[in-house]
Symmetry: D3
């Protein structure tokens, strides 16, 4: 059984690439000198990975690839899958194989699961806070360099939605674009003229005035309300009246999330869930 | 002038590799479709990067490489260097060049500076908390996969010290190694027999009993006290009497750091500074 | 002056990657043994690249990178830019530098310009054939493996528009997806439930019946009419009445293009422009 | 059974490299969002790949690697091998495995088979046109950048022969080399002096005069007749009298091929077969 | 059974990387044209690898990976493992599989085993020469570019010890560092202030005077005696009196090794064992 | 002025690739910790590279790239070029730039120059020993894995010639190919039937009998005499009578080279010059 979250987006090539890079980084040139020096070759061992605090899990499929890379015949049992919400002390997966490989893979596997589960859990918390509304939680491009695909996968594991994966897969017009192009109408016309029919156009607005112009021009698919108060957002929702998808953005916190969501916006986007989540505490109990 | 912290360790090849990977991740196949569609080619612009909160800066040299990669003739002025402690609103660097390149590079540059400055700042806070003692703060191998070299550089920017960079550059004997090898004496003898003269040997102990055996055997360079109370650590320091470097490890927090440092240990190691630091808030004000 | 087409989409990292790979492929291990054996080192030379037949040019910016890779101090003058329509014998660019480097780079540079200009020219021909209508010409994912980014750039140089760059940047629902999900309504609901707000949804239909269901469900942004006759397409256009973007697809030829466009569809997509265009004939006249 | 053409040249490492790059290009960061959103994980499916027009097949071994990369346990039956000549509607291979993987791999697999079969078929057509003579058909270095090894493999699948794979594996002296070196004799002496004994030397000539000098000098292995008429070629063949291998080159078409071959030359080389062949139409019928 | 030397240090990722690069280098674009042209596809063969002279073997595990890369179902029996001392004509491993793959892999496999066994044997000879003393033999950073990890592994196979793997895993202070920093005391204080607790510090000295200063300062872990006579080394050993690890370095030969070792130093380091060892003669007897 | 040997074969892309890999290998993650810790940032220095023994130099162009990689503004003066024969103490190149960069680059630069000059010098010695004959000295595929292109370049620097660069650029038929194909005639016919006109065919023979068959069949370009005595080779030369290029191979030593060359063969090939040459002793005198 795959340990991947069944409905989260991730290129299947991304895992192998991330795992190879991470192991190369940890093993360096000489490999795990401690285990080579102290563990007799051929020794067998087993391990269980456990959550040490409650949260939502992401990265088990990556951890599996880490262990398998160092011991192709390792036996792995996943007790649950990415996307599962767990309590502290829940056993996540069991691993049995070459003892040196287990010890060499341990830290890299835990680094992935801890980091990605931290993101999934932070996402899930925001999802919980707005669950009484129709608002969805989504990520941004404020990710940790080199880990975007995996982090966006973790956001989905936590029940969130994905914003753009990069500068190339949607148009998001910000203040500088508007200023240089000569205003909201001009910039939207330029964007629409250049974009193919499978590229969405979103535009950032700071005021209700700007929002009204966007609606008049009529070429955008979505609008990003930047740092507005919940009250202003509520007005914005009324003005839009369902004609655009509305994303609220800018310093959304646990405290402010519910109020923002209750304004009627469609999405709350948070950079913090990817760039500032603490690791979820997971550990490996090894028996050799 | 180089923007690198002058006495932090980093391979000069690591920056280009990290920057290329991060930009490839963000630009994808089509590049910055928004800027291509809305900003006339050849438009010039300038920008200032500012800290939006107080902290210790790391990553300016990386940000410089990001901008230069997309506009080789960009002009950059660093107003300070990695390792500087700043207040909110401090201008970090000024950038002037092709407007499309500025906008395309913005997020990646900020992602690096925000992430690495977060680590430097978290490190600096621990350093401050133990500044009245001789204890040094150091990192661990609990890093974000793929970013270890840069994260360890950020720890140095924040005044910390580096632990192992990987499994290959020092021996760190943990409980499993001890158990399989048949005890503290046996494991240390094995390690010493295999290690060359430029490999340090550290061993993790849970009890004062184990610590005494380590001292009797006499082959270790350092000892890691795992999750001991400050009181027990104080006893350990007395037992060691300067014969070993002592590292305290295990869930060290802002609350417990001072008491632990006051026990007389040489190092406090923290995984949290690399795996769980929130980004420092930095932004780019662009004028086109 | 950049030789890139100013409003065509391409990651700036793509050129260097493609050029390095192509030169490595041609130079192998020993390099250009003929030129090393017969041209004295240090000999200087100059060259002009000319179109040998009429067409639309794409790839000059890539050719420039090829020459520069083998002679960093080469002097290059672009007489026009990617996207220009030219007659036979038009001079495209002039190059002056190390003679060995010119000769070693010649074939790789021409292979890029000939291939990409062939695509730009084929696109431009379709654009011309439908110019009296509002229909736009666009590409598909039927590209030559490893060259997608450059080929899609060439389509833009020829006046066309870009469809998806890959499986990850938009949802395109085909017959198998519909069948497995249990019909048009079910598949659209699943897609909408999973997709973030910056992902467009297009669905392929074979019949007007299916089309009507798509309109009823109301979750799609675009519809692909697969292999319909112009007459049926006209009916489809009437049925849609502006509520969806309409793409006509399936074996569109020079003969059928106008009639299809006149049906009122928004896009004609063609795999042939990327996978089956003949090279445009370009050559290099070298003087040493 | 390997699906590779048994006597065509190709490094076994080339397939994996080309497949990985092509899938990375198509799957991007998020992977096949349509299939993840609409096909339940674990769904099984099967497919048959069919030729939709007559031709010579190349690329089945590559397609197999594409499917296997996304589903390592896929079951594949090849009904014929690369190099087979087929009629329209011939079943080429059957694939059975994970439905999501099938759908994700479909386009990349077809892009390879369509492209390479197009080249094999174009080659085979030239081979047929000259089959009544001793002339062999061969390729050139006018290939699509990044695909040379696979394209040259396809030429062999179509019954053709391979010219140089790059600038490094044989010496081909052209007009510029002759001019700079100071004439035919001088250039051949330089080439022979530098080349080891496993490097062939070919020289391009425009006139019978030049050809006679080449024969007098006596250091070449082969001569390339550039853009000569069949009548002049016939004279050239008589002059050479078996002392050199003769390659006819320059704008050889379906119309001119037979006459050129009948002149008695040994090889007809064509850039068009690699740089300007249309794809062969192949499709995948999927059942899920 | 793994063919790796059980207690030699090597990252498990290093083998695949080295093997892929070496095969790519040998197979080029077209692969093994001789075997493709002359050996019918599907032919089976077997082979035995034999030492043709006495020595210590290293590289069998690499050779295994070479054969497996070209024929994943090859059957391999190792008759001994890396690190074994053998006489001429000893059978090292037996291989059975696809005949083309065997022939294509032969030279690359032998190049690895011959090169690494040459290093292991040269190391073992030095080890033998000093076996009556406590001195250990170790390598340096004077390695063949691109092969350091494998060469250092071979040194361990031959009974030697590893010095630094690179500039990053230990501090080795040389004359220039001393001069710039302002003398032995200053340089050691700087080094100690910057280095973490898992980085050893070694310092090179030319005179007993320098050595005494090093001892006075007391911050070094090891000292490198550069080009001293055995007599001076003996004095150095007496001066040090066990307070530092002592490495003797500089032009150590078969003739001088015993005398140097008898001086009481801990390590003899030799660049020649990695940069100037002749290959051990190994061959492959193939039966097809 | 380029420091490359002007008539030696090497892809210009090979140097950057080799240098990047070698520096990455040496600098690891943390870089040159010793120099960072002890040399103040911004310190300037200069150095001269000297030969410490007589020989033929190769690798200066590579060394230049090493220094430039770590200090793009380094100033380098080459006092001679690759291919020069020098006495001990000859100054090869002068370098002036950032002191940390000089120290970090030193060992990698010397490793390249020492290794490649060792090969060039060994080649030159064989060239000298046979200078009174027409015989040329050439290399084989018995190279150090990963360094073939550079090693073959060094052979040319030493006055030698290059054999095949890989399995793909010429046909060399050995005993196994002959046996499987069913004898000399059959194997040559197969080879000729498959090979294009720019691929040379060489065949290895053990006896004069085999040689006569090769001549009768008449399809080979060259013959390799495997391990024959000089007397037998002389007979072989007489039998061939100029109809084939003759290569003598198999354990050729300084002692046997002249006699073999005097037999009248065209080439002596030696694996030892690439796989078993000792480094030439070169050093760097640094002033900071």
């Amino acid at each position: 059984m795959s340990l991947l979250c069944p409905n989260a987006f991730l290129s299947p090539l991304a895992i192998d690439e991330a795992v190879t890079r991470a192991l190369a980084e940890d093993l360096g040139r000489a490999g795990d000198v401690t285990s080579i020096a102290t563990i007799p070759e051929g020794t067998r061992g087993s391990a269980v990975m456990k959550a040490r605090e409650a949260g939502v899990i992401a990265g088990l499929a990556v951890a599996e690839a880490v262990f398998r890379k160092l011991d192709p015949s390792v036996e792995i049992t996943g007790h649950l899958r990415d996307g599962a919400a767990v309590q502290a002390k829940t056993v996540l997966m069991s691993i049995s194989g070459d003892a040196r490989a287990l010890l060499s893979a341990e830290r890299t596997a835990l680094n992935f699961v801890g980091h990605l589960s931290g993101i999934a859990s932070a996402t899930a918390e925001f999802v919980r806070l707005v669950a009484h509304t129709k608002a969805r939680v989504c990520c941004t491009r404020k990710t940790t360099p080199g880990l975007r695909a995996l982090q966006k996968y973790a956001v989905r594991c936590g029940g969130g939605f994905n914003h753009r994966f990069g500068l190339d897969d949607a148009i998001l017009i910000k203040d500088n674009h508007i200023a240089v192009a000569g205003g909201v109408r001009a910039v939207l016309e330029r964007a629409k003229a250049a974009a193919g029919h499978l590229v969405k156009i979103e535009i950032e607005v700071d005021t209700l005035e700007q929002l009204k112009t966007v609606l008049e021009v009529g070429l955008a698919d979505a609008v990003l309300l930047d740092n507005m108060s919940p009250a202003t957002m509520k007005q914005a929702v009324a003005v839009v009246a369902g004609r655009l998808v509305i994303e609220a953005s800018g310093g959304i916190t646990h405290e402010s999330a519910a109020a923002i969501a209750e304004s009627g916006v469609d999405y709350l986007s948070s950079g913090a869930i990817t760039h500032s989540s603490a690791n979820l505490d997971v550990g490996l109990d090894i028996e050799i």
